[in-house]
């Protein structure tokens, strides 16, 4: 009886532990709203690169850091080539990518999508991590207008 009871207790403990793991696994899919954003207003910038463009997302890292993937997708008009970068946890902007000048005569927009992989060595820390889009023009007097756009971050798998 005691042996059977002990076995049941161990079984109960093991199942409880399995449940905790499963619950935590499910919770890992929870999406804080800051992991993705969408902006539906046009915004014009005129400064030389690089400064904050205002869009911020954040993501929670586990104790053992893993890379994250950040994707910025936008409609835009630009009278000169522009640059976009990311700032991780208030570090200087980095991982520069170019955006070709595009100013259709009919006033319409071009579109572009940029993807970055941020590694632990780029300044990620356990817990909450803030990622800010930055950039600017590469020619004095030029302007960049961002149209509808999205910024999303996800843990790489």
């Amino acid at each position: 009886m005691n042996i059977g009871s002990g076995r049941m207790k161990r079984l109960l403990f093991a199942m409880g532990a399995a449940c905790v793991v499963m619950v935590m696994g499910t919770a890992a899919f929870a999406v804080p709203p800051t992991e993705a954003l969408r902006i539906e207003t046009n915004q014009t910038f005129t400064g030389l690169c690089c400064f904050s463009l205002g869009e911020t997302v954040s993501i929670t890292e586990p104790k053992k850091l893993v890379p994250v993937v950040v994707t910025f997708s936008t409609d835009y008009r630009s009278s000169s080539d522009s640059l976009v970068e990311l700032s991780v946890n208030d570090h200087p902007c980095m991982k520069l990518q170019g955006m070709q000048a595009a100013a259709p005569a009919d006033g319409s927009f071009a579109s572009a999508t940029f993807e970055w992989t941020i590694f632990p060595g780029d300044g990620l820390t356990p817990g909450n991590n803030k990622i800010v889009l930055c950039g600017g023009l590469d020619t004095t007097g030029a302007s960049l207008t961002l149209g509808f756009r999205t910024l999303a971050v996800r843990i790489s798998k």
Binding site: L12, G16, G25, F29, T74, A110, S111, T113, F148
Partner: protein, 155 residues
């Protein structure tokens, strides 16, 4: 005592089964990814359905969904270019992020990322995302290269 433990064990087993089923809902079901291997030429003024749909299954409390459209080049024949968006769960064609296809020919691959929030009409269970769009001002049509459409729950 043993009887009580047995009852707890059964209760715990049932709870685990429920959690297990809930977790399996996150497994990639068919329909989250679509591949259009051929060129297509949707014709008409914005906005109409392109009849290409992906779907994701949301848990009881819906999360944001990220939809990515990757296309191997395009050309809009419309003055002012064309627009591309999504129909979510049969609603109106809406722009959930960048949408512009310029009048100039683009021969390289491009992608568009769209973010759909629960407040945009997502619901628990199956949710559909149908590609839509058309000419910004006219109905001269556009030419799209082969493309993929993918939807995923945000992390």
């Amino acid at each position: 005592m043993a009887g009580r433990i047995r009852q707890y064990t059964i209760g715990l087993a049932l709870f685990c089964m429920v959690i297990g089923f809930a977790s399996s809902a996150f497994a990639v079901p068919p329909g989250e990814l679509l591949q259009m291997p051929d060129e297509s030429d949707p014709i008409g003024q914005c906005c109409f359905s392109f009849n290409q749909t992906v779907a994701v299954t949301e848990p009881a409390k819906p999360f944001a969904v990220v939809v990515t459209w990757g296309v191997q080049g395009f050309l809009s024949f419309n003055t002012g270019g064309s627009l591309v968006g999504l129909i979510v769960n049969g609603g109106p064609c809406t722009l959930y992020g960048p949408a512009s296809i310029p009048e100039v020919q683009i021969n390289t691959s491009r992608s568009f990322q769209w973010v759909i929030f629960p407040s945009d009409g997502l619901r628990a269970g199956n949710n559909t995302f149908t590609l839509c769009g058309g000419g910004r001002f006219g109905s001269s049509g556009m030419l799209l290269g082969p493309y993929t459409l993918a939807a995923r729950l945000s992390n």
